[in-house]
Symmetry: D3
Subunit: 248 residues, 6 copies
C-alpha cells in the first residue's frame, strides 16, 4: 500500500477541463492528483526558418513552472535570464513526443506551439504535460479541420505518458512528489494509442536497476497509458473521431 492509499498499479485521480482559455485554438487544464498543468495550443501560419519552403509544418512545446508551483518558491527563469537544463530537457521531450503522432506534411506550413504551464506540482509534471498537451493539440487540429485546412487529417494516433519507478524493490506507477523523491529508479514512458513506444527514459542515479525491474516498469506503464488514452478519447468525443484516419 502506498502513502496515499493507492495500489502499486493505480493511477491518481485524473481530471481534464476543456477550454479554460478563451483565446487559444486549443486548451486544457489537466490534473493528476495535486499536479495541475494548463496546456494551450497556439496556431501560427508560419514555420521556423529551418523548415521554410518545404511544405511541412512544425509542432513544438514550451514548459514552465510558476514560481510557487512547488513547496518552496523557485526563481523565475525569466529573472535568471535563461532556461535551466531541466526545462530544456522537458520541453524537448514534449515536442518530440507530440511530433511522433503528427504528419507534418499533412499539417501544412503552420506551427502549433504547446505551452505547458505547471500551476501546481506534485510529481509527474512532464508526463502529465504530454498527456494534456496532446488533448490541446487535438482540439486545435480539430478546429483547423473545421476550416478545411487539411487534405489528410494530420494526427496519426493518440498519445499519452506516465511515470513509473521502483520504491523499496516494488515497481509502481504514477509517482507523486513524495514517492518520487524516495524512488531508486525514475522512468518516464510515452506510448501511442496503437501501443508502440515513443519515449522510454529510465534513470537509476540512486541505484542501478535490473532487466527484470525494467520489464515490470514497462508493463505497468503500458497498462496505465492505455487507461489515459481511453480518458483522452472520452474527453475529446467527436473532436477525436478523425484521429488516425489520415495515416499514410
Amino acid at each position: 500500500m502506498r502513502s496515499d492509499g493507492r495500489q502499486f498499479r493505480d493511477l491518481r485521480a485524473f481530471a481534464v477541463t476543456l477550454h479554460p482559455n478563451k483565446y487559444a485554438e486549443g486548451s486544457v487544464l489537466i490534473e493528476a492528483g495535486n499536479t495541475k498543468v494548463l496546456c494551450t495550443a497556439s496556431v501560427e501560419e508560419r514555420v521556423p526558418p529551418f523548415l521554410k519552403g518545404q511544405g511541412k509544418g512544425w509542432v513544438t512545446a514550451e514548459y514552465s513552472m510558476l514560481p510557487r508551483a512547488t513547496h518552496t518558491r523557485n526563481q523565475r527563469e525569466a529573472v535568471k535570464g535563461k532556461l535551466t537544463g531541466r526545462t530544456m530537457e522537458i520541453q524537448r521531450l514534449i515536442g518530440r513526443a507530440l511530433r511522433s503522432v503528427v504528419n507534418l506534411h499533412a499539417l501544412g506550413e503552420r506551427t502549433i506551439t504547446l505551452d505547458c504551464d505547471v500551476l501546481q506540482a506534485d510529481g509527474g509534471t512532464r508526463t502529465t504535460s504530454i498527456t494534456g498537451a496532446y488533448i490541446a493539440l487535438a482540439l486545435a487540429i480539430h478546429k483547423l479541420a473545421g476550416t478545411n485546412a487539411f487534405d489528410k487529417y494530420p494526427l496519426t494516433d493518440f498519445l499519452a505518458s506516465i511515470s513509473v519507478g521502483v520504491i523499496q524493490e516494488q515497481p509502481v506507477v504514477d509517482l507523486n512528489y513524495e514517492e518520487d523523491s524516495k524512488a531508486k529508479v525514475d522512468m518516464n514512458v510515452v506510448m501511442t494509442g496503437a501501443g508502440a513506444f515513443v519515449e522510454v527514459q529510465g534513470t537509476g542515479e540512486e541505484a542501478p536497476f535490473t532487466r527484470t525491474e525494467l520489464d515490470e516498469m514497462l508493463s505497468l506503464a503500458e497498462e496505465a497509458i492505455q487507461k489515459l488514452i481511453q480518458l483522452q478519447k472520452d474527453t475529446l468525443g467527436a473532436a477525436g473521431e478523425r484521429i488516425g484516419r489520415g495515416k499514410a
Copy 2:
C-alpha cells in the same frame, strides 16, 4: 453605454477564489471580467542584501503573463532571456504599492514575494494584480500572525487599484482590452482603505488630457476602489480583522 453594456462608472464582474494553491502561504485567483490573475504570496525568512541587519522585512512582487494569455501568443521572457520594460515597470509598481501599507519593521526580517501570473488578459492586468496580490499578502500575514510572528500587526490599511480612461470625451472606469486600445488616456490609480492615494499614473500618449478630465477620472477611481476594498473585506472576513490595528 459601453460595448459590454456597462455604464461608464460600472466595474466588471469581480470574483475572488481563495487558496487555489496548496503550497503558498497566501493565494488568490482574481477575475475581473475575462482577466484572470493567479496571485501567490511566498514567505521566506531572509531579506535582500541591502536590508540585512536592519530589523526590517521586505515585500516585493513579480508579474508575468502566460504566453497565450492574450489574443495572439507572446514569446516567453525566459526565452528572450530578459524581462521587458513593461514587465519591470508593472512589477515595480505592484511591489511599491503593497509596501505603502506594510510596516516593514513590524514585519521583521522576512521577505514576502507576491507572484502575479496572468492566466488570461482582457485589460486591467496590473490593477487587478494589485487588488488580488493585496489579498494574498493579507492571507500570508494572517497566517504568520497565527504563529505569533508579530508584536504589531504589519498591515496598516487595505489597498486596491483600478484603471480609468477617457473614451470619446467620456471618462470611464475599469476598461477592458478593447476599450483600452481606443482610449486616448490611460490611468491607473492605487488607493488605501482610508481613501488616500498611493499611485496615480496617467498617460496621454494618443492625446493630452485636461485638468477637468483628470479630476473626473480620479473621482471615478475613488468610487471604484472603495467598492473593491469592500470586496476585499468581505472576502478576507476574520483574516482581515486586524488590518490597520498595529498602525504606529
Copy 3:
C-alpha cells in the same frame, strides 16, 4: 525656506547650451542646478520593424547615467549586461512623452532617437531629460525641415516636465536629490505648451497622499512647466517658430 534657499514654488537655475555635439542632428546640454544632461537627437532614415510600410515615423529615447554621475559610483548597465527597471521605465516615459507632440505621419518613415546621458545627477534627471530632449528634437526637426522633408510640420506643440513632491506637509517643486530623498510623495508631470497633461506619475511609497495634496502639486507643476516652455521658446528662437503650425 528650502535648504538651498529657494521658496517652495521656485525652480532651480536652468541653463541650456545648444549644439554641444558636432555630429548630432540636434543636441543640447541642459542644466537644472547641479543636474546636467546631454541630449542628442539622431535621425535615421528607417523605422523599426513594427512600423514598416505604414508611412509613419518613430520617436524613441534612451536614458543612461554615467557611472559617477552620483555621489557614489554605480556599475555600468553595459557591464551588468542589462538595463535596470528604473532605466527602462524612464526611457519609456521620455519616448512616450515626446511622441505625444509629434505627428508621426507628418514625420515620414524616419526614426529620431533621443539619447539622454546624465553627466551629473542632483534630482530631477528624468524630467530634465524630457525638457532637454524636447529641444534637441525640435532642433533636429527644424534641420530636417530645412531640407523640405515635411509637408506638415511634425511638431504639434511644446512640451516640458518637472518634478513636484511633498516635504513635511508642504508641496514643493523641482526637488534636488537631498529633498527627493526625504519627500513623502514624488510626482513627475509632463505638460504641453497648450497646458494639457501628457503624463502624471505620483508615488506615495513612504506615505499615501490626499486629494488636496495632489491638487496642490499639480498646480505647482503647471506653473513651473509654463516657465520651462517659455525658456524653450526663448532658446529655440526661429528654430521653434513653426511648432504647432502643422497641427491637423
Copy 4:
C-alpha cells in the same frame, strides 16, 4: 551488412590513449571510429554550495563540441552566450551516470569535474564521452588514493555506455553519424560492470517502436557494454584494481 562493413552487433574500433593532458588529475583521448573525445578529470577541494558541510563530494560533467567537430561548422556556445538544450541534456546525463558508481561520502568534500570535449564527431559522442570520462575519473580517483585521501574506495563499479538503434527493421549497435540519421529509433544505454542499467533513453521520433524491438536493442547494448568494460579494465590495469572494493 552495414555501410562500413560491420555486422549489426559489431562495435567500431575503440582506442584509448591515457594521459594526453599533462595538468589534469586524469585524462583520456577516446576514439570510437572517427568519433574522438578528449576527457579530463579535474579535482577541486571544494563542493558546490548545495552540498556544503554534508561531508559529501560531487562529480559533475561538461560537454562541448569544437566548432568544426562536424561536417559543417557550428557556432560556439560561448559566442551564442548560452548552452543549447542538447548540450545541457548530454552533460546532465554524463554527470548523473558517473555519480551512480561513485560513493560520494567516500569521496569526501571535493568535486571532480569531467570535461568531455569532442574533437571530431561521427555519431555516439554522448555514449563515447561516458565511457571515456569514466576512465579519466578512475585515473583521478586512483591518483587521489595514492595520497591516502580515502578510507573507502569511492568507485563502486565500472561503467560504460553505447548507442543502439533500429535501421530498416534491424536493431544495430554503435551507430555512426550516417546510420544515426537514417535510424527510426535512437537509444542510449548506460550499464555497470555488474550488468545493471543506469540509464535507458530511447526515442522514436520518426516512428514508434515495439516492445520486441526494445528488447532486442537492450540485449545488443548489454553485450556491447560488457566489451567496453573489459576494454576499460585492460586499459586501467593496476589503476582499476580497487574499483568496487569499497562498496558499502
Copy 5:
C-alpha cells in the same frame, strides 16, 4: 601638410578642464581637437576578490562612447547586453597602462576606477583617455594624500599616450578620424615621464610596415608624449609635485 593644416609632427590643440564633476575624487574633461573625453576617478575603500588581504590596492578603467559620439549613432553596449571586443581591449589597455606608474602596495587596500566616457570622437580616443585618466588619477591620489592616506606616495611617474601612423609613406603623429581611416599603419604608444615605454601597439592590417617606419613612428611618439607630460605637469601644478617621490 595635413588636411587640417598641421605638420606631421604637430599635435592637435589639447585642452584640459579640471573638476567638471562635483562628486568624483578626481575629474577632468580632456579635448584633443574634436575628441572630448570625460574622465572621472572614483575611490572605493575595498579591493576586488582576487586581491583581498594582500595589503595592495587596485587601479582599473572603464571606457565607453556615448551613442552619438560618432558621425552616425551606435547602439549602446547596455542595450546589446555586452561589451564589444574593442571596448574590452581599450579598457584593459587603459587600466594596465595606469597601473604601471602606481605602487599598488603604497596605495593600500583601495580601488581607484577611472571612467573614460567619450562625449565626442574624432580619432585618438584611447590615447586621449589614457592621458586624461592619468590626470584624474593624480587628482584623486593628491586628494587622498591630503588625508594622510599614504606612507609612500603611490604615483611613481607621469604617464601619457599618443597615436602615430603612416599615411602615404609619411609617419605622422596624433591622427584625427579622417587620417586614421586612410593610414596603412596604426600605432598607440604609452610612455612615462622618465621616457620609458609602457605600451607599444602597432597594427598593419592594411599593409605591413618596415623596421624603419617603426623606428620613425616611435621617435614621433616620444617627442609628442613629452609635450603631453609637460601639459600634465602644468595642469596639475602643486597637485603633481609629489609624483615620483615615493618611488622604491
Copy 6:
C-alpha cells in the same frame, strides 16, 4: 641559460601535424613545447552582412582554451555566457594578422573561419595560434584553388608570430608559462615572409622598458619568425608554392 636549458635566442621544439580533422577544409595541430593548439579552417560560401555585395571575402578567427588546458581548471566561457576580454583581444589579433596577407577581393565572396582551440597551454598560445592558423588557412586556400575558385591566388605572403620578453634584464624569445609569469615585459610580434611587421604589441605592466630593450626584442623576434616561416614552407611543400604569386 634558461630553466629548460635553452639559450635566450632558442625556440622551443615546434611540431606541426597536418590534417588532424577529417571535415575541415584545412587543419593543423601545432605544438610549441607543451603548448598544443588545434587549428581548423572552415570555408563558407557567404560573407558577413557588412560585406555583402562588395565582391570581397572575409577571414576571421575564434580562439578558445579547453577548461583544463591550464594548471588549474577554468570555467568555460559558454557557461559564463560571454567571452572574456582576453579571448576577444586574442581572436581579434589573430583575424587581423591573417587578413594582412590575404587579398580579400581575390578570395571572392566567401568566409574562412580559423578556429584555434588550445588543448594545452604553456605560454605563447596566441602567437602559436597565429603560426598554426596560417598553415590551416594555406591548406584551405590550396584546396579551394584546386577547384579553380580563384583568378589570383589570395595568399600574398607567409606569416608567423612569436613572443619575446625581458627576464632579469635579458631579452629572450619564445617564453614558456613559467618565464612569462616572471618577465617584466611581454611582447608579441607578427611578421610576414618578406620581413615586414604586421603586429607589434609590447606591454610593460610590471616595469616600463627602454628603447634599447625594445630594439633587442624586435631583433630576436625577426630571427625567430624567419625560422617559423621556413618551418611553414617545409610543412606546406607543394601546397605553399603559389603563395605570394598572385600579389597585385
